[in-house]
Structures are given as structure tokens and as C-alpha cells.
Amino acid sequence: MSTKRNFIDLQRHLKDRTRGAFSAAHTLLPYWHRVTHQWQLESAAEMIHSLFLINHTGDIFLEKHWKSVISRGVCDYFLEVKEKAVEPENVPPVLQTPHHYLISIYRDKLFFLSVIQTEVPPLFVIEFLHRVADTFQDYFGECSESIIKDNVVTVYELLEEMLDNGFPLATESNILKEMIKPPTILRSVVNTLTVLLFFPGSSNVGDKLPTGQLSNIPWRRAAVKYTNNEAYFDVIEEIDAILDKSGMTVFAEIQGVIEACTRLSGMPDLTLSFMNPRLLDDVSFHPCVRFKRWESERVLSFIPPDGNFTLMTYHVSSQNLVAIPVYVKQNISFFETGSCGRLDITIGPKQTMGKMVEGLMVTVHMPKAVLSVNLTASQGNYTYDLATKVLVWDIGKLNPQKPPNLRGTLSVQSGAPRPEENPALDIKLKIQQLAISGLKVNRLDMYGEKYKPFKGVKYMTKAGKFQVRT
């Protein structure tokens, strides 16, 4: 029976297992048992009951309960599943145990595991957990086990403030920072923006309420003051593409994001307009953006939060052909006999709009049977991790005159069958000063304040999920 597995419904499989194993007192009503027009009475309960932070080896290093304490034994169900999953990413985000539901996310090598007792939209919890991780990132510059342990009191206060009785209370970083001051020594922020995060001065935990809680603009703290008023916008586009063996585009699209950093005094009201807003097919906004204005005039009108934030994300209409900046010629083959294979990859510029392609990197997940590689790179260096079977070729800048090449032999475990599939290539690249879709910011106007801010816009194109099938 072992082969016949129901892969489609891993979830149900797990559920059945747990149910069988613990012969739960938790009886499930058959789902066809529908009571028309009857509003059922259920015992009230909060949304998120408890949170556990678990590192990738399975140690629970922090717990927070918003109601009565739930024993950390509940995590055993999760840890069991985690053990079985080969990759941490393969742990299903939602698990069912006899008395609880476990919803987890995996971020930065940590599991954020929340315990739920009753019906709740799973995305609600997932999105909240990511918001918690974002907040840690924002506060401490990174979100790792050691940094959380180092700042455990701040973390605890944050969690206390972010949820009340399991329901999100304050999740805007501007507001949180007024209530709980971030650690004073800041680690460098991993950020594409050139400007460091600004933190409100040494003002202690306010005995006055953060104004945002009362205003219509809950994302901005009041009484912001700067000597230099600046507003920077980074337009970052990512190309998601799948190319087939012959280099033809199977699927390609552009996803863009506008990251903003505003350090403006008072209550500035900004209007950002584009030269060609028609390019944008689908958009999502930070809550500060006035949707009506966008609908009617295609301009972004908003009172920005203070500091860094994601103003909008967009998707470029798929009618437009997506320019693929590089071509990839590859030949990976394994010989039927002799337990070896050959690899030959060349990358050259295709549609780069005259800009330099930088940060070029090729990642290949080799089949398990590949023992070692013996390659020569015409440019850059390559590494092959024997344990994970990942080949990384770091090229750097793309030389248009002399397209970089990597070639050589692969040695395959003797006796193992010839790998069925050739590994796909993941390409990473960066092009500065270019939005590949052609999107251009027209102008930025500020109303409501008298000073003249310094304004800046930067463009960048990156490879997103850019994969070449071989």
C-alpha cells in the first residue's frame, strides 16, 4: 500500500493520522450537516491564543500567551510533522491537533507558531505573524533567534502591544515606536534604501497616547520634525520568468514595488504621478494611499508614514511583452555510461536597454547523484556544495563583449541511474537605473507644508523568480 499515497491531500492525510492516533474527543461534524438559517452558538474564544517561536532545530525559545497558558506540549504535533518534512518550507502552514489548530510561518530560519482554538481566517493569522516578523526586523535590523533573545523584553512588550486578547491592536510601526522605543544601538538595516531608519528620539514610553490611535491617519505619528526634509522613492521591478530549453519564454511578468523613505516634518500630503500609469495592471497600496484619487486620476495621493514603508506594489499588464535582459545558452547532459556528465552555460546580454547587468548569479540544484564538479569559469567563481548539491556561479558584472561561460564535467555516483531530469537554472541579476517595464515617475508634489523637501527617485530591475528549464 505504501506507494499508493494520496499526494493531493497531504493535509487530510495528516489530519486523519492525528485523529486516529489520539481518538479525539474532538468530534467533527460532517460538513454536509448544514443548518439553514440557524446561527449557531459556540463558545466564544479569542483569535490567536498563544505564540511560540521555534528555531530550525526544533527548540522553543519564546512563548507568549494572550489568554490562559497553553502547555508547550502542543508544539509536539508540529515538531513531529517538521521532523518528517525534508525541507522546513514543506511543513504545512496549518495543522490540526485534537484540541487546537496550529498555524505557522517559516521566516528567517525561525518558525512562528500560533495556537488557535476556534475558527479564524487562516490568512488573518498568517498575515499577522508575518507582520510580527516584519516588526522585529524593523526594530532590531534582523529577525534571528539570537537577536530576539537579546531583546526579549522589548519583544515581549511588542507582542503585548500588538495583540489584545488575541486580536491585533497596534501593528503600525509608527505607532508601536511611540509606545515602545526601539533599542538605541541600531544594527545596519538590510535595506535597499540609502537612508538609515530614523527612530524617534529618546522620548520614553509616552504617557501621552500616540496620536495616531485617534486620528484618521493611524499610520503616521504626530509632531514629526526634521531639519532636513527628504523623500526618497525606489522603484524596484522584478522579472518573473520561466524560459524553456530553447530559450523561449514560457511565462514572464513584471512585479514592481515602490519602497519609500520619507523624513518629512509635520503632516505633508504628497502626490506622486507617473508618466505612464497605464502600464500598471494590478496594484495594491499601503493604507495611506487614497484609492479614489487613484481610480479617478491615476495619481498616488497620500499622507506618508514616517520612515520606511512600501508605498505600493504593482503588476505590469501582461499584454506588454516583457523584455528579458539576458539570454542563456546551456547544455547539461549526463552520459548513459561512464558515470559522468557535461555542463556548459553561457550567458549574454539580450535586452538590457544599454544598461549594465550586475550581480549576475546562476544557481543550479544538481541531481542527488552528482558527486562533484570540475568546471572552469571564464569569469567569476563557482562553488559546489556537496551536501545540498547546489552549484552557485557568481559572475558579477556581465561583459557584453565576452559573454561569461562555465563549462566542465560532472562526476556522477557510479552505479546510480542516469538522472532523469536536467536541473533548472535560477538566475539572479540586477540592473541599476532602469525600470524594465518603462514605468517613470513624473513628479512628486507636496501640499500642506511650506518647506521644500529634497526628493529623489531611484529605479532598479532585478530578477525575481527567473528560471531556465533545461
Binding site: R5, L10, H37, G73, N90, V94, N151, K208, F285
Partner: protein, 1128 residues
């Protein structure tokens, strides 16, 4: 850092279970003696006088708590510090207290008084946090204290505190469900709150405490819809989910007559007569919407439409949970044609974190089964990357399979071909199953798929082959006769394939279709007999089956083989196999003992077996509300609220009407205009009120707030005046920028909404203006008394009143200021005599309305004599109202009166001609307080220029004789980009002549003119039906103008007619017994001449319009305007 040191040093914890990190900590020797010593340390530090030491100790303790260590023995030491002045220490003490209070109830009680004190603190933050901690202490004994605290906080000035109160409700409920009834009262009160801050939290409380009480939502439904976009993200999710359920109980299925669509469409298209006839017959049964819905094309309830329209922008939210909530709302509530809008947003979420993808794909998979077309354009977005986690791959595969149809199958199969080569074998197996499903669903590609799968049989990977065999088996079952060569091919494979399931499948196939491969099958059995003992159980069973089938069809060749196999099986270790062998032997081998069954053996074994149906595991999952946990698990989770089926007939839509109070109030003020003139104390507010409607119609929603507390003293009709105060005052020109901005946004929405809002109601209010002053003075007395007796309540009223006036914080604070005076007075009175808190009563609708009007009066400053006529007017009208209760019963109420809806604004100065200054005006239809004979004109100035505009004022007014103008106060400064409003009054002398004047700034002058439509030259009055008839009788002949007309197609119901007429002219509805007639009444502003309008409807949209007015010019013009409004 202290925290980190604490982390390493703190080895507290006497007996915690399962702490894996113990081992990783070198310092954790578990030296218990030193542990206790350390705790002594902490105790010492906590007892010290220095805050820094206390803070240090608390940090270490919190670090212990965070790691799950037991720190309960420190409770006495910690709880002492609950009153500590240092806010940092205090916060950490709170954290500790909430964690351990349950365990140490007695000691926890020591802290309660601190919180009770905190609840009275002037700082809202402290009030809120006191309530938060108090309600988080899960100690049953303090339930009454919590209850009291929640009730008080629910009427707090600060929305933040009210929000905390909403959060506290579920906490108390889970602690003591007995409190449910009282809590519901608080929820009801908070539901009426107008602030976005509170909305999400109170709906959350509603969902947890009393989700079955949908009746509480009715009155707040429209408000919730309109506030939605400004509520914080998490609240949005909760509200949207709740409204989905609400809509399912209150509206009709928009897809109900899909099948009847063509028929219905035709009818309307040709406007056939029979349809109209039917209508006539049905007219009396208007309430029975369901019957009509079956016969007529479906008409969506405007409230249903409102919900759909107001949630749609949220698809653009950055929060995946919000997007999903809107998507499920559309999926469950929208007409089929409109559901498509959600696809794009959901596809966007696929770019998000893998957990989000996982949940979204599950929901998309369910949606694709029902609405495949919706996602077809996004097919490629579901293509799989080799780096996706397996669970995502499998879900994407599921979606791709669901999306497959004749046109795209070739693309999909090509894509599948790539997947089959993947290194992730689980995924390959899933792909093969997917191919099998495509093949069963789409006949055209069955052979292609089959051939492809057969090729896979020579795959190197056994798992792939096995899965293919299993799928091929299923496919062959559909048309075995055509594929004997494939069966032969598979028979050959049996030598190589080792996977038991695959071997078993092949054997089954050969046995089942042995007549198609007569030569091969006995040979296969021979081979299997040879290897029988080494096979897996599942294969052995199939060998026995094969033997039995062959014995029955080809006994000559296989008799001996069969017996050999059965003998082997007889001695097998597995009892299933032994049983099977025994059973089959008895069945097929004829012996003298064998019963009647053996005759039928062939039928038993070789019966035609139905082909298996390969269907999606997501089929029928939409029983569950999409986006819910239950949907994801495909099992009902605790606390899941069933998504109700659509009702057969729509419940009464008028339950959501909330206009009543406001309208009533407004009318009262209108009719009493002259008396307001000298009332200086109110002037300021009056102006505010005048401006209000320009921005939003939220006044229309003030009702529930006011009604929340009210009950009893229905006799005090006079009080209703104050209601107008509350609802009327509002946004102010001085309000800060962000306030006006946000309101502008709202305005747009509201205007839209307003147009839709057709169902308005008002109780009949006869006019009795000639009331004596004396009686009203008596009432004045009464009112004072009343105020004294209910100061507490009035406080809350004031507060809630404030909220509704302005969603934006700025304008709110502004109004707070303006009312501070009133409050001070109230508080003084409150100090004099504090009454017991009155319980909220959920009484009949009727009574409540009266009450709300009364209570609001508490809010007013001391009455001045000038106001009396207002009171007298109202009191008398209320008296009549009470006498004639029948008039306001449900039959008439839906549309007794419709207020003016969206105010049309006109351009006074264009942005370009005004060099950046644009000016618009509208007729606010509010009384102009300085002079009752003037029409109030609200002017909105927007400075689009980059520089400030100064000294905005008017000059050089040129008027026709008799006309007068009251200029608006000079606006000293209008900064760039800002907007402000002002009100001016114009006495048009009952003519439509334009008022010309110059608009001056510090640099320029512009010539502008304001010309009123005739409908704005009047103000509404109230008449009873009898009075109306009497007055109409006196205005016959020359004063009566009658026109026949054909009503616009969209304007054939009462509500629309009322709405259009009241939009065209500032009139009020007069109640009328017949539903074929709509009557309206008003007086011209200057000369107070009566204007009476009657619209009598007949069959087929024919109607007759009658206008009675002694001013013939006005009458003629009005006829023209109304005609246009009704026929356009």
C-alpha cells in the same frame, strides 16, 4: 544589555515540562539552591526604592516568563509594584500580572484597586491600559467590577478607550458566559459608534459573543459599509466576514434566476404588456418579493449593492487577509458576472509568502471548480517552478487541472510534460494523477494522455511507472476494448515493475479484460504462480483474483494453475489471503456441496464495473465559507459560523433604514427658522450644521447612536430639538487639512451611496406652528428636570454624538472644543445628583425613536426663550404623532418621507479662470440662521495654486430689486492645496434671478453669479394627509397645474419617485394612504407660499403630476423641473 544577561543567568523554574533548550544552555545546571537564591535577589531588587533596580528585576522576570519558566513564586513581590510610578516598571508588572493572576487569585485582588483608580484617570491611555489589564486578569471574583468598568468605558469620551472596552467584552464573556445579556447591551451600544477605531473591535466582540443576533446589525449595516475602507486592516477582515453572513440572511440570491434570465430579459426588453398586467395584479403583494423575483428579473437590493461596491476597493489592500475576505465575499454574494474582479487580486497574492500562497491556492482550487472561466486568463500564473515547496506545487497542479478545457489542454499537457521530469517524485506522481484527471474530463485528449502515460511506463523511476500504471488502469476502464495493445504492453511490464501497487493494478487489468488478451493472460498467471510466495499481500490478492477470473473464462488452460495458486494461498501467513482463497474456491470450483451461488460466479466476478470518477478533492468545498479555517481543513472548526443559504424571500429591507431621526430633526429646525435668528449662542453651531450635508450624509446614520441609551418618558416630545443639534453639527471650515481630505473622500462615496438610498422613512409630523409659548415653557421646565436626572447618560450621548458628526479626528476634536462649555455645565449638574445608570433597553423601534430625540436634549446649553416655538411645534407634532401611531407603522414607514439625498453642486469659478482657485457651491437646504428668508448657499473654495490665497471675500453685489445677500465672512487665508467652505445667505425673493457679485482675493477679482433652481427656493413643511387635502382644495384653478407624463423606466417605484422629486425640489413627503400617490409639501422661503406636489402613478409608467401653488411662476417652473426629474 540587561535583557540578554537575564536570559543567560535566569535559570528560574522549578518544574516546567519539556524544555528542550535546557540542554543547550551551559549555565543551566539546575542548581536549585542557587535558583532560590537568585529569586531572593529579585525580591530584594523589587523591594528596593530605586526604580532602576526594580526595572532590572522586572526585565529579568519577564525574560523568565518569555522562556516559559515558572516565576510564580515572585508574585507577592511583583504585585506590590503595581502602583509604581515608573511607567516602564508598571508595564512589565502588568505583563507579569496578566500571566500569573489566574494562579494566584487572592493576591491578584490586591492590585484591583489600582486599576479601578486607573479607570478614572484623566489620561485616556491610562484608562485604556487599566481596563485592558483588568479585563485580562482571569479571576472570576472580579466579574462585576469588570462589567462595570466595561460599561463605563463604552461611554468614554475617547474612542481608544471605547475600543479597549470592545476588546474586553469577549474576555469577560469567556470568563463568565452568564454576563451575555448585559454584554450584548454594551455591544449594541458600541455598534452604534461612528469611529473607525471602534468598528472593527466591536464587530469582533459581536462575532464572539452573539453572532446569532443579526438584528443588531440592521441599523448599523450602512454605516459599517461606509466606514469599512477607513477601518484598520484587521477590523476590515472581521467586518467583511460578518457582513457576508449578514448579507446571506438579508438579501436575495443574485443568481437566483439565472435559468430564467433569457425569459426575463426578453420581457423587459420588449416591455410587453402582459408583464405590466402581471405587475398590476401583483401590486398588492409587494411584500412578497420572492414571487416577483421568480417572475421578474432580479433587482438587487441597494444595500446589497452598497456592500459590493464598498468592499471592492479593498481588493487593492496590501493585507492578504483583507483581499481574501473581499474575494470570498464576492464569491458568495456577487452576481456571477461580477465575481471575476477578484481573480486578479488573488493571483497577485501568489507573489506573497509561501504560507499565503498555500491558503490562497486552496481557495482558488475551490473557486476554479465552480467558476473556471474566472481564472482562465491567469493560467500561466499557476505554472510551477522547481523551487516551489511541494505542497504549493501540488496545489498549483490542482488548479491547472481544474482549469483544463478543450482549448488550453494542449498547453497544459505540454507543461505537465516538463513536470514529469522533476526530481521531486511526490510531485511527479501528483502530475501523473493530474494527467489522468484531464484525460477523463476531456474526451478529446484521452488517447493522447494514455499514450503519454504508456510512454512513462518505460520510465526509469519506479514510482513514476507505478503511478502511471494506476492511472492507466483507471483510464482503460473507460474503453478497454480499444486498448488491448496497451494491456499487452503492461502485461510485459510485470517482469520489471516491482512496486506492489503497480503490479496489483496490472494483474487486475489483465484479469478484468482477459478476453481481450486471451493468449497472454494464462501465461501471466503462470509466472505469477511461480513467484506467488514472494509477492506482497496486495499482489497476492490480485493473483487470486486473476486466477479466479481466468478459471471462469478459460478453465481448460488455467484449471491446474488456479488450483495451485489457491493451494499456495491456503497456507499463506496472512489470514486475509487464506480467507480469500477459501472463499473463491467455494465459489468457482463446482463441488457437490457448492450452493446455488457458484452458478452466478461468472456474473459476480466479471460484472461490468463502472469506470472510476476522478474528481477534484476540492469539489463541494464551497459549502464552507471560503477563506475560513474550516474550508482549509475541509472540516468544521470550533466556532465556525455556517454560511446561511439565501432566503427565499428577502426580509424587510426597511430595517436598515436609519434616517428617521435626523430627518425629523432637520425638519423641525427648518420649520422653526425664524426663531433661530436671534439665538446667538447657537449660531456657531448652526453654521456648522449648514455645512454638514455638503460633505457627507452621515447625519442620516446618527439614529442608532442616539437610540442606544434611550427609553421611557415618551411624553417629553419637546426634546427632539437637541437631536438636530447633535446630528447637524459637524465638519467645520476650520478643520485641519487631513480631516477635510478624508472627508472629501467619504463625500464621494456617500454621494454615490445616497443616490442609491431609496428607502427612507419618516413619521408623520403635523405642523402646528401656532402653539402657545406658555406650554412650551412648561416643557422647558420639564426638560431641565430631565437633564438633572440624567446627566450621566447625557455624557455618553454627547460623546457618541460627536463621533457621528465627523469620522475624522480633527473635526472631532474641534467639535469637542465647541461643546466643552455644554459639558462643563453638564458635569456640574452631574455632580449635584448622580442617578443610577439606566439599563439599555432593547425596546420596540417606535418607542426608541421617540426616546432618542428626548435624550439628546441634555446636551444643549440652557434654553433661551427664542427656541420655544421650536419646542412647541415639535411637542405638538409629537403628541399628534403619538395619537396617530398607526400612521407610522410599518406599512407606511418605508417611504413616508425622503430627505434630499445627494446635494448637487454647481461650479462658481473654474480652476483655470480662477487661476488656481476653484469655487463650487451647493444649496445645503439648511435654514440660514441669520435670516430665515434667505436660502443658505454653501460655498467651497479649493486653492489649487501653489501659493496661498488671502482675504477671500465678496464685493460689489448686484441684485434684482428686493433681493438681499448676507455675505460670507472673509476668509483670511487659504493655504495652497487646501479647501475650505463658507456659507452665505441669499434672499432670492422667490425668483430664479441670479445673484451677481465679485469674488475677491488679495490679488484678483472674479465676476461670479449664483442662480438657484426653482426647487431650492422652498423649504419642506409637514402636513397631514387631511391638511394637505384641505390646502389643496384652496389652491385650485389658476393655482393648479397638471401634467401627464410617462415615468422613466427606472423610476417606477415609489422610492425612486420620492427620491427624484425631493432631489429636484426641497420638499417633504406627506404621508398618504394610497401607494399610487406621492404627495409633497413645502413653502417658498421668502413669502411662505404653500407649494403642494402630487404624483399619481397609473399603469405602464403613466403618471400625473399636479402642482398647487399660489405663485404661478414658481408652480410652472417647478412642474418643468419635476417633469424632467421623473422622465429623464
Amino acid at each position: 544589555m540587561s535583557a540578554s544577561s537575564a536570559f543567560n543567568d535566569e535559570k528560574g523554574g522549578s518544574s516546567s515540562v519539556g524544555e528542550p533548550e535546557y540542554g543547550h544552555d551551559p549555565a543551566s545546571g539546575g542548581i536549585f539552591s542557587s535558583d532560590y537564591k537568585r529569586h531572593d535577589d529579585l525580591k530584594e531588587m523589587l523591594d528596593s526604592n530605586k526604580d532602576s533596580l526594580k526595572l532590572e528585576a522586572m526585565k529579568r522576570i519577564v525574560a523568565m516568563v518569555a522562556r516559559g519558566k515558572n516565576a510564580s513564586d515572585l508574585f507577592p513581590a511583583v504585585v506590590k509594584n503595581v502602583a509604581c510610578k515608573n511607567i516602564e516598571v508598571k508595564k512589565l508588572v502588568y505583563v507579569y500580572l496578566v500571566r500569573y493572576a489566574e494562579e494566584q487569585q487572592d493576591l491578584a485582588l490586591l492590585s484591583i484597586s489600582t486599576f479601578q483608580r486607573g479607570l478614572k484617570d484623566p489620561n485616556q491611555l491610562i484608562r485604556a491600559s487599566a481596563l485592558r489589564v483588568l479585563s485580562s486578569i482571569r479571576v472570576t471574583i472580579i466579574v462585576p467590577i469588570m462589567m462595570l468598568a466595561i460599561k463605563e468605558a463604552a461611554s468614554d469620551m475617547s474612542p481608544y478607550v471605547r475600543k479597549t472596552a470592545a476588546h474586553a467584552i469577549p474576555k469577560l464573556y469567556s470568563l463568565d458566559p452568564e454576563q451575555k445579556d448585559q454584554l450584548i447591551e454594551v455591544i449594541e451600544k458600541l455598534l452604534a459608534d461612528k469611529t473607525t477605531l471602534v468598528a472593527g473591535s466591536v464587530v469582533m466582540a459581536f462575532e464572539e459573543v452573539c453572532p446569532e443576533r443579526i438584528d443588531l446589525i440592521h441599523k448599523n449595516y450602512r454605516k459599517l459599509c461606509n466606514l469599512l475602507i477607513d477601518v484598520e486592516e484587521w477590523g476590515q477582515v472581521v467586518i467583511i466576514n460578518m457582513l457576508t453572513r449578514y448579507a446571506r440572511t438579508q438579501f436575495l440570491n443574485p443568481n437566483i434566476n439565472e435559468s430564467l434570465l433569457e425569459e426575463g430579459g426578453e420581457k423587459t426588453f420588449y416591455g410587453s404588456e402582459e408583464d405590466e398586467d402581471e405587475d398590476d395584479e401583483d401590486k398588492d403583494k409587494k411584500a412578497e418579493v420572492a414571487t416577483m423575483a421568480k417572475r421578474k428579473p432580479y433587482v438587487m437590493d441597494p444595500d446589497h449593492r452598497l456592500l459590493l461596491r464598498n468592499t471592492k476597493p479593498l481588493l487593492q489592500s496590501r493585507n492578504a487577509a483583507v483581499v481574501m475576505a473581499v474575494a470570498q465575499l464576492y464569491f458568495h454574494l456577487a452576481p456571477k458576472a461580477e465575481v471575476g474582479v477578484i481573480a486578479k487580486a488573488l493571483v497577485r497574492l501568489l507573489r506573497s509568502h509561501s504560507e499565503v500562497q498555500y491558503v490562497v491556492l486552496q481557495n482558488v482550487a475551490t473557486m476554479t471548480i465552480k467558476r473556471r472561466g474566472m481564472f482562465e486568463p491567469y493560467l500561466k500564473s499557476f505554472y510551477i517552478r522547481s523551487t516551489d515547496p511541494t505542497q504549493i506545487k501540488v496545489l498549483k497542479l490542482e488548479v491547472l487541472t481544474n482549469l483544463a478545457n478543450e482549448t488550453n489542454i494542449s498547453t497544459i499537457l505540454r507543461e505537465f510534460q516538463t513536470y514529469i521530469k522533476s526530481m521531486d517524485k511526490d510531485f511527479v506522481a501528483a502530475t501523473i494523477q493530474a494527467i489522468g484527471r484531464c484525460a477523463t474530463n476531456i474526451g478529446e485528449v484521452r488517447d493522447t494522455c494514455l499514450n503519454g502515460l504508456v510512454q512513462l511506463l518505460s520510465n526509469r523511476d519506479e514510482l513514476v511507472v507505478a503511478e502511471s500504471v494506476v492511472v492507466i488502469k483507471k483510464l482503460l476502464q473507460m474503453q478497454p476494448e480499444k486498448h488491448s495493445d496497451i494491456i499487452k504492453h503492461m502485461a510485459k511490464l510485470i517482469d520489471n515493475i516491482q512496486v506492489p501497487m503497480a503490479r496489483a493494478s496490472i494483474l487486475w487489468l489483465i484479469g478484468e479484460y482477459c478476453e481481450h488478451v486471451p493468449k497472454i493472460s494464462p501465461d501471466v498467471l503462470r509466472k505469477m504462480a511461480k513467484s506467488f510466495t514472494n509477492e506482497e499481500d496486495i499482489v497476492k490478492l490480485q493473483i487470486i483474483n486473476l486466477a479466479a477470473k481466468l478459471y471462469l473464462t478459460n478453465s481448460k488452460q488455467t484449471k491446474l494453475l488456479t488450483q495451485y495458486v489457491l493451494n499456495l494461498a491456503k497456507y499463506d501467513q496472512n489470514y486475509d489471503i487464506r480467507d480469500r482463497a477459501r472463499f473463491i474456491r467455494q465459489l468457482i470450483v463446482p463441488t457437490e456441496k457448492s450452493g446455488a451461488l457458484s452458478k452466478y460466479a461468472k456474473k459476480l466476478f466479471l460484472a461490468l464495473k463502472p469506470a472510476p470518477v476522478l474528481e477534484s478533492p476540492f469539489k463541494d468545498r464551497d459549502h464552507f465559507q471560503l477563506g475560513s479555517l474550516s474550508h482549509l481543513l475541509n472540516a468544521k472548526a470550533g466556532g465556525y459560523q455556517e454560511l446561511p443559504d439565501w432566503p427565499e424571500a428577502a426580509p424587510d429591507p426597511s430595517v436598515r433604514n436609519v434616517e428617521v431621526f435626523t430627518l425629523l430633526e432637520r425638519v423641525t429646525t427648518l420649520t422653526s427658522v425664524p426663531e433661530w435668528t436671534k439665538c446667538s449662542s447657537r449660531e456657531k453651531r448652526k453654521e456648522k450644521k449648514v455645512e454638514k450635508p455638503f460633505y457627507s450624509d452621515s447625519e442620516g446614520e446618527s439614529g442608532p447612536t442616539e437610540s442606544a441609551d434611550s427609553e421611557s418618558d415618551s411624553a417629553n416630545g419637546s426634546e427632539s430639538v437637541s437631536g438636530s443639534e447633535v446630528s447637524g453639527s459637524g465638519s467645520e471650515s476650520e478643520e485641519s487639512e487631513e480631516g477635510s481630505e478624508s472627508e472629501e473622500e467619504e463625500e464621494e462615496e456617500d454621494e454615490e451611496k445616497d443616490k442609491k438610498k431609496k428607502k427612507k422613512e419618516l413619521k408623520k409630523k403635523p405642523v402646528q406652528e401656532s402653539e402657545s409659548e406658555q406650554s412650551s415653557e412648561e416643557e422647558e421646565e420639564e426638560r431641565k428636570h430631565e437633564r438633572k436626572s440624567k446627566p450621566r447618560k447625557s455624557d455618553s450621548e454627547t460623546e457618541s454624538g460627536d463621533e457621528e458628526e465627523s469620522e475624522s479626528e480633527s473635526s472631532q476634536s474641534e467639535s469637542d472644543e465647541s461643546e466643552s462649555e455644554a459639558e462643563v455645565k453638564k458635569k456640574k449638574k452631574a455632580a449635584q445628583s448622580k442617578p443610577p445608570a439606566k439599563p439599555v433597553k432593547t425596546d420596540g423601534k417606535k418607542e426608541k425613536k421617540e426616546m432618542s430625540l428626548l435624550d439628546l436634549d441634555d446636551f444643549e446649553p440652557a434654553p433661551s426663550p427664542q427656541v420655544t416655538p421650536v419646542n412647541s411645534f415639535l411637542s405638538s407634532s409629537l403628541v399628534t404623532d403619538l395619537e396617530g401611531l398607526s400612521l407610522s407603522d410599518s406599512v407606511l414607514s418605508p417611504a413616508t418621507i425622503a430627505p434630499s439625498s445627494a446635494l448637487k453642486s454647481y461650479e462658481l469659478l473654474h480652476r483655470i479662470t480662477g487661476e488656481g482657485l476653484s469655487v463650487e457651491y451647493c444649496f445645503s437646504r439648511q435654514p440660514f440662521s441669520p435670516d430665515a428668508n434667505m436660502v443658505a448657499v454653501q460655498i467651497q473654495f479649493t486653492n489649487n495654486a501653489t501659493s496661498d490665497t488671502k482675504n477671500l471675500h465678496m464685493e460689489d453685489v448686484k441684485l434684482q430689486s428686493g433681493m438681499r445677500v448676507k455675505e460670507f465672512p472673509e476668509i483670511e487665508l487659504l493655504p495652497a492645496g487646501e479647501t475650505t467652505t463658507a456659507v452665505m445667505g441669499i434672499d432670492f425673493c422667490d425668483s430664479t434671478q441670479a445673484a451677481n457679485f465679485q469674488l475677491c482675493t488679495h490679488t484678483r477679482k472674479f465676476f461670479v453669479s449664483i442662480q438657484p433652481p426653482v426647487g431650492e427656493l422652498m423649504r419642506p413643511i409637514f402636513l397631514t394627509e387631511n391638511e394637505f387635502k384641505k390646502e389643496q382644495g384652496q389652491l385650485m384653478g389658476m393655482n393648479e397645474i397638471t401634467e401627464r407624463l410617462t415615468l422613466d423606466v427606472k423610476c417606477r417605484n415609489e422610492h425612486t419617485i420620492v427620491q427624484r422629486v425631493t432631489t429636484a425640489a426641497n420638499l417633504s413627503r406627506v404621508p398618504c394612504g394610497s401607494d399610487k400617490e406621492c404627495r409633497f409639501a413645502g413653502r417658498t422661503v421668502t413669502s411662505s407660499s404653500l407649494v403642494l406636489v402630487t404624483v399619481a402613478t397609473k399603469e405602464e409608467g403613466a403618471a400625473q403630476l399636479t402642482v398647487n401653488c399660489e405663485k404661478m411662476v414658481i408652480g410652472t417652473m417647478l412642474v418643468k423641473d419635476i417633469l424632467q426629474a421623473l422622465t429623464q
